[in-house]
Amino acid sequence: MTEASAALPAAQATVVRKIDIGLQRRYRAERRFRAYGIVALSIGIACVVMLFSSIVSRGYTAFEQTRVTLLVDFDPKVIAPNGDRSPDAVMSGDAFRFDELISTALQKTLDIEPDDEDGLYDALDLLSKGSTPMLRKLIADKPSLIGTRSAVDFYATGDVDAFIKGTIHADVPESQRNIKDRHIKLIDRLENTGTMHLAFNTGLFTFGASSRPELAGVGVAAVGSFMMMLVVLTLSLPLGVAGSIYLEEFAPKNRWTDLIEVNINNLAAVPSIVYGMLGLAVFINFMHLPRSASLVGGLVLTLTTLPTIIITTRAALKAVPPSIREAGLGIGASKMQTVFHHVLPLAVPGILTGTIIGLAHALGETAPLLMIGMKAFVVNYPTTPFDPATSLPTQIFMWATEPERAFSERTSAAIMILLAFLLAMNSIAIILRRAFERRW
C-alpha cells in the first residue's frame, strides 16, 4: 500500500493516507468488536465453571463422614434384664439402658475414671444423639450380638465432623465455637488411637430428613422424586404423544387448532409457580387429594412438562418425510394405520429424547412443589404415591436455609447428586439422538 502511494501524485497520496488512517481505525473497531464477543463468551463460560466449582468445593467433603468405632460390650444383663432376647423385648422398655453400653465403651476407650462424670459427658457430646436408637436397632436386628464384644461404628456430631474436616478452626476464640478445648483434647486422643476416622457417607444416600445433620440424607427425597417421575412419565408420555399426533397428522388447519398451537407455546413459558397454584386449587382444594403426596406432585409436574413433550414430539413427527406417509397410503393403509405403523416408529427416537429432557426439567422443578406442600419433614420412605413425600429439590431448599455448616455441606452434596441425575438423563438423551438420528 505504502509503496503504491509513493508513486502517486502528492494530492492523491494525502487522500489515500486519509483512507489508510480510516481503514486502520475501522480495523481497530473490528478487533475491538471481536474482543467484546470473546470476553462475553468467556464470562458466560466462566459463570458455568464458577457455579460448578462453587458447588463441588463446598460439597465434596459431605461424601465422607466422621465415625467413632467403639468396642461395645453387649452385656446381656443390661440389654435383656429379664432374659428375653427377642427383638420386641429389645425395642420395648427403658431406652436409657443402651446409653450405659455406649458410656462403658467410651470410658474404656478413653480411660475415663468411672466417677468422672464431667469427662464422660464431654466424651458423649462427641457422639451423635442418634447413637442410642441406632445401637438398639442394631441389637434388635441381630440378637446374636448379645453377650459378645464387637466393634460398632457410631456417627460423630455434625460439629465434630466439621472440626475434623477443618471447617471449624481451633484458632477461633473458644467462646465462638461449639467445639470447646476439652472436646478437642478428646478428639485428638480418639484420632491418635484410630478410633475416630473418616469413612464413606452411606447415610447421605439412605437417610431421610433429620434435624441432626449427621443423620440427614437424601434417600427419602430421592424416592419421592422417583415416584413423581413415574407419575409424570405414565401420564405425560401417552397424553403428549396422542395430542401431538392429532395436532400434527389429523387436525384441520382452522382457528381452533391455531388456538391450541398458540396456547401450547404459551403454556411452555408460563412461570412454574402458577402451575403449583393450579395444583393447590384443583387437586388439593377441589379434589381433596392428600397434601405432600407424590401423586399430586406428579400431576402438577405432568402439566408443566406436557407442553415441552408436545412441542418436541411434533417436531419429531414433522421430521418424518411425507414420502413415508404417501407410500403407506399408496399401498392401501388407512390414515390411522399409516401414522401408527410407519410414521410413529420413525419418530420414536425424537420423542424419547424430548421426553427425557422434559423429565429432567421436571426433576429439578421446585417452586410448584412448595405450593402443594412437598416441603415437609419426611423421615420414612413413602411406599405408595399417596404417602407424604419430599423431592430432591425441595429437600435442597429446606437444607439451604439451615444455618449449620454441616447442612450447607450436605446441601451442596445433594445438589451434586441432583446434577448427576440430570447429567445422566441428558447424556442418555444425547446418546439416543446420536444413535438413531436419521437424515432423510
Binding site: 403454556l267 412461570p271 409457580i273 417452586a367 412448595l370 429439590p393 435442597i396 431448599f397 446441601t411
Partner: protein, 483 residues
C-alpha cells in the same frame, strides 16, 4: 368391589373380548366370507365396546359418590348446626364416626348402637382418635352414610359388571365379515387423540378459572384499587377472631420484581447477545461446538441450584466487596445478588434464540455488505443486527418473562421485606416470593392473607402471558419473513 378391582376386571374382560373377537373373525374368514377389516380390528372392536361403556359408568359413579354421601350426611344434620354455619366441620366429624363404625366388630357395633359403651373409647382402640364424644345425631348420620355408601358400592359393581357383560355380548354378536370394524375403531382412537390434544386448553382454562375464582374472593374483601395502587405491603397474619386485615399494596412487590428483572437483563443481554454474535459470525466450528452446549448447560440447571449459589457464594461476595464498602447495605440478600444470578440463568435463553435468529439472516445480505468493502463488524452492526432486531427483541422479551416468573432464586436471595426503594443493595421482595410466603404453612382459604396469593398469581400470569404473546408473535413473524 373397590374401583381398583373393577378397573382390573374391566382390563381383564376387555382383553378377553379382544381375543374372542379376533378368534371369531378368523373363524368366519376360514369359512369363506372375505373380511372387511383385519382380525385385530375385530378384536379391538370388541375391546372398545367392552371397556369404554364400563369405564364411563365407573367414572360417573366414582365422581357422584362423594357428592351423594355429602348430601346424605347433610340431610341428617340437626337444623341448629345447619343454621350456625359450621356445616363442613360437622360433616367431617360425621365422616370420622362413619370411618370408626366401619372398623369395629359386629359385637362392638351392637353395643354402640344400644348406647351401652362410649363409641369414642372403642374407636380409639381401633386407632381412630376422635375430638369429642359421639353425639346421637352423628351416630344416626354416620349409620345412614355407611348404608348409602354400601348401596353406592353395590350399584357401582352391578352397573359396571352389567355394562361389561352387555358390551361384550353385543359387540360379539355384531361381528360379521361385512362389519366395518376398522372404521369404528379408528373413530374411537381419533376421539381419544382429540381429547388428549385438548388437555393443553383445559390446563389454561384451569389456571385462569382457579386463579380467578380465588382472586375474585380476595377482591370482595380488599378493593382492587387498594391492591393495584397501594404502596404498602403489610398483610399481617390474621389472629383468630380479629377482623384486622392489613394492607395489600402490590406496588412494592411489582417494583422489586421489575428492579431485579432489570438487573438480570443488564447482565444477560450484553453477555448473551455478544456471545451469540461471536458464536454465529466469528467462532470456528470447533469453538462453537464446545461453547454453545456449555452455555446451554446453564439452561438445564435447576433454579434451586442458582438460588443456593446466590445465597452462599454471590450474596456474601457482593455484600463484602460492593455493599459494605459503598455503605449502601449490610445484607447479602439484595437486588443485585438476585439480579446477577438470575441474569446468569437467562444468558442461554438470550444467546440460543439470538444465535438461531442471527444465523437465519440470509447469507446474501452479509455477502452484499462484505462485497461493498465493509468489515465484518460493520456488516454485523449495520446489516445483520438491524435485520435480526425484531427476533432479538422477541428473545429478550421471552427472557424477561422468565425473569419475572422466576421463584427459587428470589426466594433464597432477594429477601422478604417489601421495600419501595431505589437502592440496589436494599433487601427487596418480589411477587413470586410473596406467593410462596402466603401459601406455605397453615392454609385457610377464607382469609385475605391466603387469597391474596391468587390475586398476585393471576397478575403474574397476565403479565407473563402478555410478554410471551408479544414475543412469540414477533419471533414467528420474523421467521416467516426469511423463509
Amino acid at each position: 368391589m373397590g374401583p381398583l378391582t373393577l378397573i382390573a376386571l374391566i382390563a381383564g374382560l376387555s382383553l378377553f373380548g379382544f381375543f374372542l373377537g379376533r378368534w371369531k373373525s378368523i373363524a368366519m374368514a376360514g369359512s369363506g366370507a372375505p373380511l372387511h377389516s383385519r382380525p385385530n380390528h375385530y378384536g379391538s372392536f370388541v375391546l372398545v365396546w367392552t371397556a369404554v361403556p364400563a369405564l364411563v359408568v365407573l367414572t360417573l359413579l366414582v365422581i357422584a359418590r362423594p357428592l351423594i354421601l355429602d348430601q346424605t350426611i347433610r340431610s341428617h344434620l340437626p337444623s341448629d348446626i345447619v343454621t350456625s354455619g359450621d356445616v363442613s366441620l360437622a360433616i367431617s366429624g360425621v365422616e370420622q364416626v362413619a370411618d370408626g363404625l366401619k372398623a369395629v366388630t359386629p359385637d362392638e357395633y351392637e353395643n354402640i348402637h344400644l348406647g351401652v359403651v362410649s363409641a369414642r373409647r372403642i374407636f380409639a382402640d381401633h386407632g381412630i382418635p376422635l375430638g369429642g364424644d359421639v353425639s346421637p345425631y352423628q351416630l344416626t348420620a354416620a349409620i345412614a352414610a355407611n348404608d348409602t355408601e354400601r348401596l353406592i358400592t353395590l350399584t357401582t359393581t352391578t352397573a359396571v359388571v352389567g355394562a361389561l357383560a352387555l358390551g361384550l355380548f353385543l359387540a360379539f354378536i355384531r361381528i360379521k365379515p361385512r362389519l366395518r370394524a376398522r372404521n369404528s375403531v379408528e373413530r374411537v382412537v381419533l376421539t381419544l387423540l382429540i381429547a388428549a390434544s385438548t388437555v393443553a386448553i383445559l390446563t389454561t382454562v384451569g389456571i385462569v378459572l382457579s386463579l380467578l375464582f380465588q382472586a375474585l374472593q380476595f377482591f370482595s374483601m380488599v378493593s382492587p384499587i387498594n391492591f393495584y395502587f397501594g404502596t404498602v405491603w403489610d398483610p399481617r397474619f390474621a389472629a383468630a377472631g380479629s377482623s384486622e386485615s392489613g394492607q395489600f399494596g402490590i406496588l412494592p412487590l411489582a417494583w422489586g420484581t421489575a428492579y431485579i428483572s432489570l438487573f438480570a437483563l443488564l447482565v444477560a443481554v450484553p453477555i448473551g447477545l455478544l456471545s451469540a454474535i461471536y458464536m454465529a459470525e466469528y467462532a470456528s466450528p470447533k469453538v462453537r461446538a464446545i461453547s454453545k452446549p456449555t452455555l446451554e448447560i446453564l439452561a438445564g440447571i435447576p433454579t434451586i441450584v442458582y438460588g443456593f449459589f446466590a445465597l452462599v457464594t454471590v450474596g456474601p461476595m457482593i455484600r463484602d466487596y460492593l455493599a459494605l464498602p459503598l455503605g449502601l447495605g449490610n445484607s447479602g440478600n439484595n437486588v443485585v445478588t438476585a439480579g446477577v444470578v438470575m441474569g446468569i440463568m437467562i444468558i442461554p435463553y438470550v444467546s440460543s434464540l439470538s444465535d438461531d435468529i442471527i444465523t437465519a439472516v440470509p447469507r446474501a445480505m452479509r455477502e452484499g455488505s462484505l462485497g461493498l468493502g465493509a468489515t465484518r463488524s460493520e456488516t454485523i452492526k449495520r446489516v445483520v443486527l438491524p435485520a435480526a432486531l425484531p427476533g432479538i427483541v422477541g428473545a429478550i422479551l421471552l427472557a424477561a418473562s422468565r425473569a419475572i416468573g422466576e421463584t427459587m432464586i428470589v426466594v433464597l436471595a432477594a429477601g422478604v421485606a417489601a421495600n419501595l426503594s431505589a437502592n440496589p443493595f436494599a433487601e427487596m421482595t418480589t411477587i413470586t416470593v410473596k406467593i410462596v410466603n402466603q401459601l406455605t404453612g397453615d392454609l385457610e382459604f377464607t382469609s385475605p392473607q391466603t387469597l391474596v396469593a391468587f390475586a398476585l398469581g393471576i397478575t403474574l400470569f397476565v403479565i407473563t402471558l402478555g410478554l410471551n404473546v408479544i414475543a412469540l408473535t414477533i419471533v414467528r413473524k420474523y421467521r416467516e419473513q426469511y423463509e
